[in-house]
């Protein structure tokens, strides 16, 4: 699934799929997003976290 994510460094929003150079030998690219505008890399959120995020949002609304 692809989602829009926001870069924690420069604040750009981008589609989670697109990324900068991958090639970390750990676990096939090491599950991270890379911001196309500033190249900051950060950890991709897992299904568990996404689920929790939705649940918490639901509770808030």
């Amino acid at each position: 699934m692809t989602v829009t994510v926001q870069c924690p460094l420069c604040g750009a929003r981008f589609v989670g799929q697109e990324s900068c150079p991958t090639g970390c030998p750990m676990a096939g690219g090491c599950h991270s997003y890379c911001c196309p505008s500033c190249h900051y890399r950060f950890v991709e959120e897992s299904r568990l976290v996404n689920w929790l995020r939705r649940v918490m949002k639901g509770n808030q609304a």
Binding site: T2, T4, P8, L9, C10, G11, A12, R13, F14, V15, Q17, E18, C20, P21, T22, G23, C24, P25, M26, A27, C30, H31, S32, P36, S37, C38, H39, Y40, R41, F42, V43, E44, E45, S46, L48, V49, L52, R53, M56
Partner: protein
């Protein structure tokens, strides 16, 4: 309001172009009153949709294209959009962009302008931009670009009506990109050689060819223009030589600079409603003078939170209680019961046992430390301090004579050196990439390692911490300075948009920490187990004592550490934090005095990159550079440690 004069103009086809997922298809639907599949995934429109513009006077053909990030395509989808632009040379372009992300929007505007396209700009997703508190002034943009700019919320049809109203004013955008002189020369030579039928698009096409757009080159050669394509190749190779770098990077860089200038011009008109306090604090945090005490305060909080709370309280509980008094004794009892062979018992619960060492280190020691560090790092990210840190580091780099762009990989290195090494690709010259790779491998501790280091520092004195910090920083500056003497740093601009300071949301921090923790468990624990297995195998075969003995002259003699510290350096090859965890435990067991602790910390900080980082170094910089750098780093780390040990003992400092 149909003005007869405009009918003729608007009857030229309209081409919807823009980044992925910005609402092109929704706008297409509104303009044609036709339904097109719209979904929240990028790349939805893979085929070209055509319709008749029922909502536009003259009912011109409207063409929807797949989203593209750049007009120098990197994928099939992007190529489709570029090919469409060439196939419809007379079409007026309606560029649709995400108002939240002007930088990317303008990057495409620049490329459209270079193709000489008549265009207007639609900034969609205005609702989301407002939610974020962004207030983009379309008037400012119109003034700067000299094309119509319209803000819309396409899903609610807001503002969409203004698109047909302004179409007649569409023009080629005014943007000034200043390419390096050799690029300009090549562009003008090449565009003169391109067929005159391309008209104003020739400049843009020449740039694409010089950036190495193989697809375009293929297409043009098919059209029988092989001579020009040979010329393009020759010019490109010449540029590569002249720039000492790939022309594609130089071109992209010049465009980014132009976009940054545009943004600066536009954002003058941007007002954010911020509290006075936050505004002041935000400004102070990047102040050349006041920024320093603020930075010191941030570091102090990190030290207290990660070093004292995480490493002290939490580790004491998890390692001492949960593992020390319950889990490990229980595992030992089970192993004794089930496993009659001594070597098998050792494999699980021995000194180098998978449970008593591998799992204990990763879960009981590193996890609490890294977890608290992740919380802290998440707060730094969400508060908007991180980009400010980059600005502060940038100043330090300037004085070192390094390119300001090097800041980003270095700050990233605090997260993961391996990732950061990959990021060095954004640096303009090979020499800079090599220097930053070296600095990363040498002295920037990754998050996990930094956590454990803070943990050890937490139980030494503040003086010890300061000594460690000063030695590492001095080493970095010295090596960086020496390296930048060899490598003349080009003073290219470091551009980062500084977001306002925000109060982070607790929920978001917790979720982020959870995501990172999960990531850590997946990435790191297998390596911890592998490392333990290697140590166990070495111990069973009797090689470990030999290795320890062999390294005694260095570890014991020069560094003044207990022989067992060699184990930590050994596993440090696999993961830096594993090595640090070993030292941490030695310290907790009272086997390291304060001087030994500081010395061993300095060594493990400067010590070799982890194995993942090493592989990436090979991949990015080539095996020769990677091996050479490692061959420099290892003896260098021991030398600095030995020197520090000697000095500290000499002045017999009381830490």
């Amino acid at each position: 309001m149909t003005r007869p004069a405009t009918v003729g103009q608007t009857a030229t086809p309209l081409l919807l172009v823009g980044n992925p997922n910005v609402g092109k298809s929704v706008i297409f639907g509104a303009l044609t009153r036709r339904y097109v599949t719209v979904s929240n995934y990028p790349g939805t429109t893979v085929e070209i949709a055509r319709g008749s513009g029922q909502a536009i006077p003259g009912n011109p053909t409207v063409i929807d294209t797949p989203g593209a990030n750049s007009l120098t395509p990197r994928s099939e989808d992007e190529a489709v959009t570029r090919d469409m632009l060439l196939a419809e040379p007379d079409a007026t372009v309606i560029q649709v962009g995400d108002m939240k992300n002007l930088r990317r929007v303008l990057y495409m505007t620049v490329q459209l302008a270079e193709l000489g396209r008549r265009q207007m700009l639609v900034l969609n997703l205005e609702d989301e931009a407002r939610d974020l508190g962004l207030d983009v002034s379309t008037g400012m943009l119109e003034e700067t670009l000299r094309i119509p700019v319209v803000a819309t919320t396409a899903v609610r049809r807001l503002g969409v009506r203004r698109i047909p109203e302004r179409l007649a004013e569409a023009a080629s955008a005014t943007v000034l990109v200043s390419y390096p002189a050799p690029v300009e020369e090549a562009v003008s030579a090449l565009s003169q050689a391109l067929p005159a039928t391309f008209g104003d698009a020739r400049r843009g096409l020449a740039l694409m060819l010089l950036a190495g757009d193989a697809r375009l080159q293929g297409q043009l050669s098919q059209d029988g223009d092989t001579a020009t394509m040979h010329m393009a190749r020759r010019l490109r190779e010449g540029l590569q030589q002249a720039l000492g770098d790939s022309p594609a990077i130089a071109i992209a860089e010049a465009r980014h600079t132009a976009v940054a200038a545009l943004l600066r011009a536009v954002q003058h008109g941007r007002r954010r409603r911020l509290s006075r306090l936050r505004e002041r604090l935000g400004a102070l945090s990047v102040h050349p003078l006041w920024g320093i005490p603020i930075l010191a305060l941030v570091l102090l909080v990190a030290y207290e939170f990660v070093g004292v709370l995480g490493a002290g309280t939490l580790v004491d509980f998890i390692e001492g209680r949960v593992f020390g008094s319950w889990l490990n004794p229980a595992a030992t009892a089970v192993a004794n019961l089930l496993l009659p062979w001594g070597w098998a018992r050792d494999l699980f619960v021995g000194q180098y046992g998978l449970i008593t060492m591998g799992v204990t280190y990763s879960i009981a020691i590193v996890l609490p430390v890294v977890g608290t560090f992740f919380i802290f790092f998440g707060i730094l990210e969400d508060s908007g301090y991180l980009p400010r840190l980059a600005v502060m580091v940038n100043r330090l780099f300037r004085t070192m004579g390094l390119n300001g762009k090097a800041v980003l990989p270095m700050v990233l290195g605090l997260g993961c050196d391996t990732m950061a090494t990959l990021t060095t690709r954004i640096l303009p010259s090979r020499k800079e990439r090599v220097v930053v790779t070296l600095l990363l491998a040498l002295g920037v501790p990754c998050s996990a390692q930094l956590g454990v280091i803070l943990a050890m520092l937490g139980s030494i004195s503040l003086t010890g911490t300061l000594i460690w910090g000063a030695v590492v920083l001095l080493t970095l500056v010295a090596v960086g300075w020496a390296a930048s003497k060899v490598v003349p740093g080009r003073a290219s601009d470091f551009i980062i948009e500084i977001p306002p300071l925000r109060v982070p949301s607790v929920r978001n921090i917790l979720l982020k920490t959870l995501a990172r923790t999960e990531w850590y468990l997946k990435e790191a624990v297998p390596l911890f187990l592998l490392g333990t297995l290697i140590l166990w195998a070495l111990a069973v075969t009797g090689l470990l004592p030999l290795l320890e003995h062999a390294s005694e002259p260095i570890v014991v003699g020069i560094l003044g550490l207990p022989a067992r510290a060699a184990d930590s350096f050994l596993v440090g090859f696999l993961r830096r934090d594993y090595g640090a965890a070993g030292l941490f435990l030695l310290q907790k067991q009272g086997q390291l005095d304060h001087i030994q602790a500081v010395v061993s910390l300095v060594v493990i900080t400067l010590f070799v990159p982890c194995i993942a980082n090493f592989f990436v170094m090979i991949k990015e910089r080539g095996i020769k550079t990677a091996v050479a750098q490692t061959a420099f780093i290892i003896p260098f780390a021991f030398a600095v440690g030995g020197f520090l040990n000697w000095i500290l003992r000499l002045v017999s400092i009381n830490l």
